[in-house]
């Protein structure tokens, strides 16, 4: 597998060294644990030793990776299951259950992107000892579109046609349309065993769902609901590792307690939602702990409902943007951890456009913008134009303390401009229900990861036909509608060469930055931590959870 092959599907890696390692991957030895291990470290133990306790602030409860779930559930899935190929921290794919990452060059994908052929690893066993075959892959892809199964995502899979098992180690299918993001979707699709569902009438309540069987480095141990989940080393794992005898996912519902337990050493690795920003300074200086700030793909934004009359005027959106003191918010309220950004695209992405106009906090600019656009101060101190008052509500999830502080800070700045912002926060179940999905809000503060894996396609969020409030099927809750963006997104989804795709997504980011349906505030950064003795912990911005490579973790002796 040459350098070029890797790039066909994803995008070229920027770190040459890593790319060379990718080449080694084609020999079938390549596993995630090799990634990112730049510096020399103690060698892993010969046989699985010790245990690692990972603390999560939410409880993993869904163990069938294809049913609706939240981030922490994926943490467990990564330990138990494998995808055909996964995605590394630099955005390149590495083979897992597939012998190689399919590409046009190696014949895995036809030049038009419509025919796929995957060669599978031989001799892989499920945790219950049964052999893994192409039938399992076929079953998984069919399960995802089974109308009787509560599949959490059909996107991409619904284009798959003519699934054919050629041999136990080879499977082929055709795509109804050329769909470039499908590789990224497959990289997040864990393969589940067909035999676990044999004779099961209702796949939604299969015993498998609470005692999963996978091919991964760890097998299901036991679960104490409301408390923890224990996994055991899979001695028959086909890759390198595991090096730990046991992995425990501990549920600690309170962030302060989560941190305290990390401090006292009760947990070895602090997982989602990590160390709160206000504890970063203290955490840094803890003895025997490694603490670092890691960027996340999530972008925090002040988002508008573009159909509200207050926000139809671009001058208002621009003025509000100018009135936001981003730096103070980041420095004081978030302790300087996140990175200011101008794009919805994470800055680590190959498709990130670094040349967007820079935001400038300037109250005079804001005032001038509003004055010039004809928004005049009323007797009540609130600006208005053509009978539309510059007054709106802003919502977010009630109970998110720092974000509530940001809102109150913005409220004060906007007030100085003669803009009335009323805070109206809602319980999560209400906030992210119809209120959000059907665009019933005025404005919200929200953090969204717009990407699936590393793929830059954001059609579901930005196409004018994706607004549920207008009968669309996606999540364009801004009701953003720009024909140029529509066209570009259409085009970008069918191009398989990264360098060419890049131009299109640069243009999209430029247009969105200019239209400002959302005011990009910053890209999240989180404070992660683990005991100094745990080796192999590696952040990966392309997955949602930190235990993605737990197979390669070990205790340095």
């Amino acid at each position: 597998m040459s350098d070029k092959e890797v790039t066909v599907f994803t995008h070229p890696t920027r770190r040459q060294a890593l790319t060379l390692m990718m080449a080694a991957g084609s020999a079938g030895l390549f596993m995630p644990n090799i990634l990112g291990k730049g510096e020399a470290q103690a060698a892993p133990p010969a046989k699985p030793t010790g245990k690692v306790i990972i603390g999560f602030s939410q409880e993993p409860t869904v163990f069938n990776p294809h049913m609706p779930h939240i981030e922490v559930d994926e943490g467990v899935s990564f330990s138990i299951f494998d995808p055909l190929f996964g995605i590394g921290p630099d955005g390149s794919f590495y083979p897992a259950l597939a012998r190689e990452v399919p590409s046009v060059e190696n014949g895995g994908i036809s030049a038009d992107g419509l025919t796929w052929k995957i060669k599978l690893r031989d001799g892989v066993k499920w945790h219950d000892g049964k052999p893994f075959t192409a039938e399992d892959v076929k079953f998984t892809l069919e399960l995802l579109v089974d109308p009787n199964f509560r599949s959490w995502r059909k996107t991409g899979h619904e284009h798959v046609r003519e699934l054919t098992v050629v041999s136990p180690t080879e499977i082929t299918w055709k795509m109804a349309v050329a769909f470039a993001p499908y590789a990224s979707i497959l990289a997040a699709t864990f393969i589940v065993p067909k035999h676990a569902f044999d004779g099961v009438a209702d796949k939604n309540t299969a015993p498998f769902n609470n005692a999963p069987i996978g091919t991964g480095a760890f097998r299901w141990g036991n679960r104490v609901a409301g408390d923890h989940i224990e996994l055991e080393a899979n001695a028959d794992y086909f890759g390198d590792g595991p090096y730990l005898e046991r992995v425990i996912y501990k549920y600690i519902p309170d962030l302060t307690v989560l941190y305290t337990q990390f401090k006292t050493g009760d947990i070895d690795v602090i997982g989602l939602q990590y160390i709160t920003p206000d504890h970063y300074d203290e955490a840094k200086s803890l003895d025997g702990k490694k603490v670092n700030v890691v960027p996340m793909a999530t972008v925090e934004s002040f988002s508008f409902n573009m159909e509200k009359p207050q926000f139809k005027d671009p001058a208002v959106r621009k003025a509000l943007y100018a009135a936001i003191d981003k730096q103070t918010i980041i420095d004081a309220l978030y302790y300087g951890l996140p990175t200011p950004t101008e794009s919805y695209m994470p800055q680590q992405s190959f498709y990130y456009n670094p040349d967007l106009p820079k935001h400038e906090y300037n109250m005079e600019t804001a005032e001038k913008l509003l004055d010039d656009a004809g928004w005049e101060l009323g007797s009540d101190g609130i600006r208005a134009k053509d009978g539309v008052k510059l007054s709106f509500t802003n919502s977010t999830t009630a109970g998110n303390h720092i974000r509530e502080q940001v809102q109150q800070y913005l409220q004060q700045s906007f007030k100085e401009l003669g803009i009335e912002m009323k805070i109206s926060n809602l319980p999560p179940a209400v906030m992210w229900g119809d209120y959000w999905m059907m665009s019933q809000f005025d404005s919200v503060v929200v953090g969204i990861n717009f990407l699936t894996g590393a793929d830059p396609d954001t059609s579901d969020y930005m196409k004018s036909t994706s607004s549920a409030a207008k009968g669309g099927a996606g999540q364009n809750t801004w009701q953003y509608a720009n024909p140029t963006v529509d066209k570009l997104l259409e085009e970008g989804g069918t191009i398989f060469v990264p360098e060419e795709r890049k131009k299109i997504y640069f243009k999209i980011q430029e247009t969105v930055r200019n239209d400002l349906p959302l005011l990009p505030l910053f890209q999240y950064a989180i404070v992660r931590g683990h005991k100094a003795g745990v080796d192999g912990v590696e952040p990966n911005i392309n997955v949602r959870i930190d235990s993605w490579n737990v197979a390669s973790w070990y205790w340095a002796s």
Partner: protein, 294 residues
Amino acid sequence: MSAVASPIAVERIHWWQSRTLRRFMRHRLALIGLAMIVILTFACVCGPWLLPYDELYIDIRARFASPMTGAHIFGTDPLGRDIAARLFMAGRISLLVGFFAMLLSTAIGTVIGITAGYYGGRLGAALMRFVDAFLSFPSIFLLLVLAAFIKPSPFMITVIIAVTSWMEIARIVEAEIRSLRERDFVMAARMLGLRDTKIMFRELLPNAIGPIIVAATLTVARAILLEAYVSFLGYGIQPPLPSWGNMLNGAQQYLDRAPWLAIVPGVAITLAVTSFNFIGDGLRDALDARSDID
């Protein structure tokens, strides 16, 4: 009787002495409670005018100032707002929520209790089963379920608290009215042809007013506590509007570095609730007919 007169006599003296003591002390507690409530109310009404800070004014540079820093008597919060200013504004809201929740729940409880007690029979039984049904939920459960789905504003929180705390009063009123309804004066009123509502509210209700006042006072205490619980769990009154409960909401996170965030509003809640309980207790003794007989 005379055979055992001596030990009783000893006790009687003891009783008499202690009884005076007790009444004195009881009333003193109630007086202390009353005084504290007056002071608290006064502070909440006038305090914000006397302090140099606005409860909403954000000064990020002054965040987490500890108590007695400059003019910040109780320190500042994570946005640099003056806690004393917020405490008093919060007090206005918490006390008002407590007071109006009491009024509303007393009204609901009285109407249901008086109807059930006066008419009795099937209607009465049905109403009292309804009361029982509400009592079978732990009220905090019901309160949270309601608060989780209703947009939290001070008005809604008041309503929600009232809706989950009227049952006690309904029971008390029902029992009182039931025992009164066969009395002569009611019979007389009926014979005179007075309308039922008139008998219920003009003739019967005044006779039950004592227990209602006691229960109502205790309901204020309860309502303040409930507001604090719900706001602490994040389902109550939303910022920037301060309430004693939501001032505590974020406090746990900063417990190690800014404990005053938790201590100041907590003390205020405890003071207010204790005071109302003292008053209620004092009222109970004062209004309890039996305490004069035995």
